[in-house]
Structure formats: structure tokens, C-alpha cells
């Protein structure tokens, strides 16, 4: 019962940076053998991105890379050499899935495009996660999560109406929409292959899952002819619903108290007896008085500690949450602690460091991940010997020729 559900599945993992790496991590954490094919001469840009252990740069020291690559194995292979490409093909031929998030044409240049791979591995499941898909007038354009956030409408729609678009402040599509959609598509393809023996090509444009999550905004334009505007934290008809200041430096609380019982409870807790009156009793009345309600609520919350106000509101059935910082979610959130969300793993170079658990628990399975991110090329030898059947001598020769690192 404890065996991880994806045990026995192998991914030849050519992904790097954000969305691709996190897609294959989801498989690795649940038992798949994910072998990340890396380049020692041009390492994953995330390996060269802060934060580093103790602030000291190094290819094995990035926390950003580490959190996105748990449970994987790493081999360092020079795909620019003919023999490197032969080894990559041998690895693919003993894999179920090939994953990459290069620009279209990159894998083809190495002779590892879908058509080429299908010649020697006909039932392969092959996912290509380029920014804008495999073809089209802009398919070769470059981008990252932040530019994808801009391209997809997420940035345009998020922020204050009278300011420049704000977005999420992160490479949001890299962290949730693209990895989740890619993983779901691969899992669906695996199911189809188990039933029919047929593999397939999956073309995931990294703009499209995010746009799919913005469906209501798109349809507001296509069906109603209205371009939705940025509106800060306003979520009509929810009034009040927003983020309000609390005592102390840059302390905030999110409150959503628009339903009848929660509105009354809010008024009671903060001592706003006038809100009990008949001119506030219906939602449409509160919507009409939204600005003054927000201003008055902010005046009151300023006098409260965010944690205390959250506790007392929650005790009275009002949805409220402190705006937690990264330090808070690690150190001051009793819920995440009780859930075991934070996992410390012992990394060979970074030492004991912090990782996210997946945001769900599957009953009967051991806690994952249990293995930290690999060092660059940490498993080159093991994979070449055990999986590709190379002898010690052959491996040594390939290393001295620079094919393997």
C-alpha cells in the first residue's frame, strides 16, 4: 500500500528553469524515475539563480533549483557531441516519457525531436512545453514566467486601475498553471498508452493554461463586449472583501465578510454598532456604500494586531487571514507546521535545507519528497552503468572526452 503510485515509470527529462522542472518533479516525488539530462557547460539557469546557501554562488547551491528538482537523478551529458546524443537516445529508449521546455527546434537540432524519437521508440509520450507552441508566427519568441504572465492577460488584469499592471510579483504561470496542466496531460497520455499501447505527442504552449484560467475575463469580452479592468482587491458582489492595514510596520489582514452572518459578526467584533442598522442590512446597500465601509474598516483594523484580529474574527465565523510573508509561512503559521508542509532534507552541498511538500496528502503513502535535488551530474556514473550498460572503462573514456561529466 505504501509503494508510490508512479513507481516503474521513467522520464528522460530535458526540462530546465521553471515550468518544465516542476512538472517532472511532481512525477519524481510520487515514485517515477526522473533522469534530468543536464549540461555541465551550460547548466540550468536556475542553478545559477539566487538564493544560494549562505549567499555563496555555485551550481549546487541554489535553493530555487533545489526546491524544483527533488527526487530526481542528474546526468551531465554533452548533447553537442555525437556520442552524447547516442547516449541520450539510449536513455530515451528505456524511458516512457520525454519532457522538454526548450524553444521549438532545439530538440530537433539534437536529433531528439518527436518524429526522430518515434522512429526508435514508437510508443513514447513526448511533451514539448515551449512558450507559444510548436508552430505559428510567434512560436520562436523567447520568454520566461514573468513575460508569460504579461502575454496571457494575468498581469493586465491584476493591480490597481490607476496604476501600471501589477501581476502576482512572481513567475506565476511557471509555478502552478503550467506544471499542473503538463502533469495532468502526461498522466492522461499514460493512461491511454496503458489501454492501447499508443504513445503520443503533447504540445503545451506555456501561455495557454494561464489563459484557460482566465476564461471568465475572456468571455466578458467576447460575450459582453466588456474589457475587464484592474480593480485591486474588489470582488463584487463581495462587500466588504479586501486587505486592510493592521498595527505595526507593513502588517495587513484579508477579510471577507460579505455574507449576512459574517457581516453582522464583523460589526459586532469591531464594535461598529451603526453597521447593525437597517441602512446596511442588505448586500446591495453595502455595495452602494462600499467605499465608506472599506475606509471605516481600515480605520478600525489599524488599531488591531493582525494575528489577534484574525483569531477573534475566526472565532466569530468571519473569514480572515493575516497577509503572511515568506518568513511567516515558515516560522509563524501553526497550520502549515501542523500539516508537515515544510520538509528539511540533507543536501550533500547545501546541508539541511527547506523544501515544500506537495500541497496534498494521499492516504496510505509515505511523506514525500524524501530525496533532495541532485548535484549536477551526481548520477552520471550510476545511470550509465545500470541503465545504459556501459562499463567502467567506457564511462571513464567518455568522461575524459568531455561527453560525460
Amino acid at each position: 500500500m505504501k509503494a508510490l503510485p508512479l513507481k516503474g515509470i521513467r522520464i528522460a527529462d530535458f526540462t530546465w528553469i521553471g515550468a518544465g522542472s516542476f512538472t517532472t518533479k511532481l512525477f519524481a516525488d510520487f515514485g517515477a524515475d526522473v533522469i534530468n539530462i543536464e549540461s555541465a557547460t551550460r547548466p540550468d539557469a536556475l542553478r545559477g539563480s539566487r538564493p544560494y546557501r549562505d549567499g555563496v554562488p555555485g551550481v549546487n547551491r541554489s535553493g530555487y533549483f533545489a526546491d524544483r528538482n527533488t527526487s530526481k537523478r542528474s546526468i551531465a551529458l554533452n548533447l553537442k557531441s555525437e556520442r552524447g546524443r547516442i547516449l541520450a537516445k539510449r536513455l530515451i529508449s528505456v524511458s516512457d516519457i520525454v519532457a522538454n521546455n526548450f524553444s521549438p527546434g532545439t530538440m530537433e537540432k539534437f536529433g531528439l525531436g518527436y518524429e526522430a524519437v518515434r522512429e526508435f521508440k514508437s510508443d513514447i509520450i513526448y511533451i514539448a512545453m515551449s512558450m507559444q507552441g510548436a508552430s505559428g508566427p510567434e512560436h520562436r519568441y523567447l520568454g520566461f514566467g514573468l513575460t508569460i504572465g504579461a502575454l496571457t492577460g494575468l498581469q493586465f488584469l491584476s493591480g490597481a486601475v490607476d496604476r501600471e499592471p501589477a501581476g502576482t510579483g512572481t513567475n506565476y504561470p511557471d509555478h502552478v498553471p503550467n506544471p499542473c496542466h503538463a502533469a495532468f496531460a502526461i498522466l492522461a497520455a499514460l493512461r491511454h498508452r496503458r489501454k492501447t499501447g499508443e504513445g503520443q505527442f503533447i504540445d503545451l504552449a506555456q501561455t495557454e493554461p494561464m489563459i484557460s484560467l482566465l476564461g471568465p475575463a475572456i468571455m466578458q469580452f467576447t460575450a459582453n463586449g466588456v474589457t475587464p479592468e484592474r480593480s485591486g482587491n474588489l470582488r463584487l458582489p463581495k462587500v466588504p472583501c479586501g486587505v486592510y492595514p493592521c498595527a505595526g510596520e507593513d502588517q495587513w489582514i484579508a477579510i471577507s465578510a460579505w455574507t449576512e452572518p459574517s457581516w453582522k459578526a464583523l460589526a459586532r467584533v469591531i464594535g461598529k454598532s451603526e453597521w447593525m442598522g437597517s441602512e446596511f442590512s442588505r448586500l446591495d446597500q453595502r455595495i452602494a456604500r462600499r467605499q465608506s465601509i472599506d475606509a471605516d474598516l481600515g480605520e478600525v483594523t489599524r488599531g488591531w494586531s493582525a494575528e489577534e484580529l484574525m483569531s477573534v474574527l475566526q472565532r466569530n465565523g468571519v473569514a480572515a487571514g493575516v497577509v503572511r510573508t515568506a518568513a511567516d509561512v515558515i516560522e509563524r503559521d501553526p497550520q502549515l507546521r501542523a500539516r508537515g508542509h515544510w520538509i528539511y532534507l540533507d543536501h550533500p552541498e547545501m546541508g539541511r535545507s527547506l523544501y515544500n511538500a506537495p500541497p496534498f496528502r494521499i492516504s496510505g503513502l509515505a511523506d514525500v519528497p524524501s530525496t533532495p535535488a541532485p548535484l549536477l551530474g551526481q548520477h552520471t556514473y550510476d545511470v550509465c552503468r545500470d541503465l545504459l550498460g556501459l562499463s567502467e572503462g567506457e564511462i571513464g573514456a567518455l568522461q575524459s572526452e568531455g561527453v560525460l561529466t
Binding site: P5, P51, R163, A185, S212, I218, Q314, R361
Partner: protein, 431 residues
């Protein structure tokens, strides 16, 4: 139960599947989705790849039917655009779970399902006898995915929540918005949607495991915390605190590093990532571009200090870059900057509005937008396939259902004759 009667007629906007119907990857999987805002995208992901998704609604209809905006602003339970979009291809059954007959029908449906998606508060289903423990006793391979604000356990498990509260407690709000304003949430219930997506992945992982295990399948309860799903979106912020002891803050409207950020242009904004990506030529390409466009002083950006990431993080560097790039961008359109920058292999792109997207030539080339039939028969346009599976394509199985549209049909499939169906309707157990 009879084989699925889900309408499987392909979307007419996908001509290939009409000429040559391709199989659906998730055919044969039946999903019961207890309607809720955090579960609807999860159900949609299953439905659009061919699963038979049955939406269980309470009498009067799911709350998700009341979400704005509405078609032509007509407020009605059948005209919500979010409901229309997120419930394509599902079948609707109205069940009153406080009536014993309603619970009996639910249990019968559960026996014939592979997956139940539930978004009730922890503990709400147990008094009804519809919790994981009770249901799995009769269904050895059942997977029940419970999506709740904080998970099934822990001190906040019974707390109240809303999308914005989950964004706050999960930390993403602390990164969103401008330094001078309150933290600002991203558009469109992204906490609920994140949970729906992770729930779909977790559910399919467990389903595949069970299908592979055959007779040795185990019932699985999947406990999804919306708060934790939000934490997963914090990028590198928790590692910054763990490894370098710095706390990332919201910084909208400013360059993250010199050459990385949003810039106003003649007709909107562009996002530029010239600086900050290791081992790339983006900076050099950008400087060359500005020189070729005869931006006075562009050669200053060639000095060795610009190779230093720490320098790029300074206000001095950001200010200098702004002085050179700002006026240049302001005098050009977003499409000019997009095409000219991309032709020089610089990651720059327009900040697109929904209108820009609908007219975007790349999305048009990919036929991304698709016909979404409203339950009235009216054809609307909305987002289409988020992934292209060549052998088992994404497709809409049908419109979102009207309230209780499939109640009688599904009762029939469960083997209830007309007489007992009438009795269930009469006593209010179904609707």
C-alpha cells in the same frame, strides 16, 4: 449502471475530430463533483479529456452559478459566465443530501464512480455517512479528493475562508501589489483555481496507481489544502528566507533588477527581461538594440559593472536603465517593441488585455479560442485546449448543464423506474 451516456459529439470547431473521431484519454472514468468554487476547474480538466463528470448540486443550485459576470449582465442561475465556462461537458444532478433518499442515491452513484471531488468543510460529510471512511467501505478502489481551505487536520481546519484569505495565509498576497499600496490579489480566484489544478493532478496520480494495481487497488483519500497550494506559488521566496535570510516584498511598478520589469509604451505596457538571467545574451542584445536605434548614451550600458547582478539590484542601476529605456519605449507601440525585441532574441512582450488576446495572431494560428455553447444554445467564444494531446485531443463534450438537467437521466441509469423517480422528485430528495 449503464455505460456512460455523456454526449460525446465532438466540438464542431475541431474539424479533425468530426472527420476522424479520436479516443478520449479519460473515457470510462466517472467523477462525482460536489459543486464548489475550488473543485470546478478540477472537474473541468477531467470532463474535457473525456471523463463522465456528474455535478452534484443542492436544491436551488450551486453557489458557483451566482458568480459574476453574467451573460449580458442578466443575473440568473443559467447565465453566469464563470459557471458556463468552468462546467462544460458536465451533467447536473440536484440531490438533497439532508434527505435520506438523497444520501442513498449519492451512495449508489459513488459505488459506480472512480473519483469523488468534495469541497465541504472537514467533518461535514461524516454525519451524512458520506465521508471517505463510509463510502470507501463499499468501493475498494474509490478515490475521494477533498479540497478544503486548510486541509483536513490542524488548528485552522475549521476556519472560514475565501479566495483572498487563502492568498493571504499562503503568502502570495505579500508579493502582489505596489510598495505604496495594500497587497493586491491576482485576478480571478487564483487560490481556488490552483487548488483545483493540484487536486486534478493528485487525483489522476492516484487513479493511475489504482488502475495499475487492479484487484490490489486501495481506496485513497486525497487531502488538498488550498493554503498549501498558494504556498507553492511563492517561487523562491521561502528559500530566500531559509538560505539568505531576506524577505521578498511586493514591488509592482518597479524593476526587479535593472532591465527586468514593466515599462509604459505608446499604447500600453511591455514586460522586458534584459537583465537577471544567468548565461544569456539578453543584456548585450538589448544594449545593441538601443545603440542601433540611436538611443543617446546607450553605450553606458556596456560598462563592466552591468555584468554584476548585485549592481543590477541597486536603485542607481535601475534609475540609469530607466533613463535610457523609458523614453525609447514610451515613443513606440507594444507590438513594435515586441517584434523588434524578439527579432533580436530579447525576452520582451506586450502586457496583453483580454481583447489583445482574442486578436492575437499566434493564438489565432493555433485556433486556441473555441466555441463554447451556452445551455440556451447560443454559441459563445472562450479559451480552448490548454494542451494538445495528438492522439487523445482535448474537447468540450457539451455545454455546461442547466440546473438538474440530468437528474432523471441519471436516476434511470441507476435503475430507478419512473414511479420511484416521481416519488424522489415529489419528496424533494432530488430536483
Amino acid at each position: 449502471m449503464q455505460p456512460s451516456t455523456t454526449p460525446s459529439t465532438a466540438d464542431p470547431s475541431l474539424p479533425r475530430s468530426v472527420d476522424q473521431p479520436l479516443p478520449a484519454a479519460l473515457a470510462g472514468i466517472r467523477v462525482l463533483e460536489l459543486a464548489g468554487p475550488a473543485g470546478q476547474y478540477c472537474g473541468k480538466m477531467f470532463a474535457d479529456l473525456g471523463a463522465d463528470v456528474i455535478l452534484i448540486e443542492p436544491p436551488g443550485g450551486a453557489h458557483t452559478r451566482r458568480e459574476r459576470p453574467f451573460l449580458r449582465d442578466q443575473i440568473h442561475r443559467e447565465t453566469g459566465l464563470p459557471f458556463t465556462y468552468f462546467n462544460t461537458g458536465k451533467r447536473s444532478v440536484v440531490l438533497n443530501l439532508s434527505a435520506p433518499e438523497g444520501r442513498m442515491i449519492f451512495r449508489k452513484l459513488a459505488e459506480h464512480s472512480s473519483l469523488i471531488i468534495d469541497t465541504e468543510k472537514p467533518g461535514m460529510m461524516a454525519p451524512l455517512g458520506l465521508d471517505f471512511g463510509s463510502l470507501s467501505a463499499d468501493s475498494p478502489g474509490l478515490i475521494m479528493t477533498s479540497i478544503t481551505p486548510f486541509g483536513q487536520t490542524g488548528p485552522y481546519a475549521q476556519w472560514e475562508c475565501d479566495d483572498i484569505v487563502a492568498l493571504a495565509l499562503g503568502g502570495l498576497l505579500s508579493l502582489g501589489g505596489y510598495p505604496e499600496t495594500e497587497p493586491m490579489a491576482p485576478y480571478g480566484n487564483q487560490a481556488y483555481l490552483a487548488a483545483g489544478q493540484f487536486a486534478a493532478v493528485a487525483s489522476l496520480i492516484a487513479l493511475l496507481g489504482n488502475e495499475q494495481a487492479g484487484n490490489n487497488a486501495y481506496p485513497r483519500h486525497i487531502d488538498v489544502s488550498i493554503q498549501e497550494c498558494v504556498v507553492l506559488a511563492l517561487e523562491n521566496a521561502v528559500q530566500f528566507y531559509d538560505l539568505e535570510h531576506t524577505i521578498r516584498k511586493r514591488e509592482a511598478g518597479r524593476q526587479k533588477l535593472a532591465g527586468m520589469g514593466i515599462f509604459p509604451c505608446a499604447d500600453g505596457h511591455v514586460y522586458l527581461m534584459a537583465g537577471g538571467i544567468a548565461s544569456s545574451n539578453f543584456w548585450a542584445n538589448t544594449v545593441q538594440w538601443l545603440e542601433d536605434e540611436r538611443v543617446p548614451g546607450a553605450d553606458q550600458l556596456k560598462r563592466v559593472c552591468w555584468d554584476d547582478q548585485d549592481f543590477l539590484a541597486t536603485e542607481e542601476a535601475k534609475g540609469q536603465f530607466q533613463k535610457l529605456f523609458g523614453p525609447f519605449a514610451l515613443s513606440r507601440t507594444k507590438s513594435y517593441l515586441y517584434e523588434a525585441g524578439q527579432s533580436r532574441r530579447i525576452p520582451i512582450c506586450p502586457v496583453n488585455s483580454p481583447k489583445d488576446l482574442v486578436h492575437n495572431r499566434q493564438l489565432q494560428h493555433r485556433n486556441y479560442f473555441t466555441a463554447i455553447t451556452h445551455s440556451s444554445g447560443e454559441i459563445l467564444t472562450g479559451p480552448g485546449a490548454p494542451y494538445r494531446l495528438a492522439a487523445t485531443p482535448w474537447r468540450l463534450a457539451g455545454p455546461s448543464p442547466t440546473l438538474g438537467q440530468h437528474t432523471a437521466e441519471i436516476l434511470g441509469e441507476l435503475g430507478f423506474d419512473r414511479e420511484s423517480q416521481t416519488a424522489f422528485f415529489a419528496c424533494g430528495a432530488v430536483g
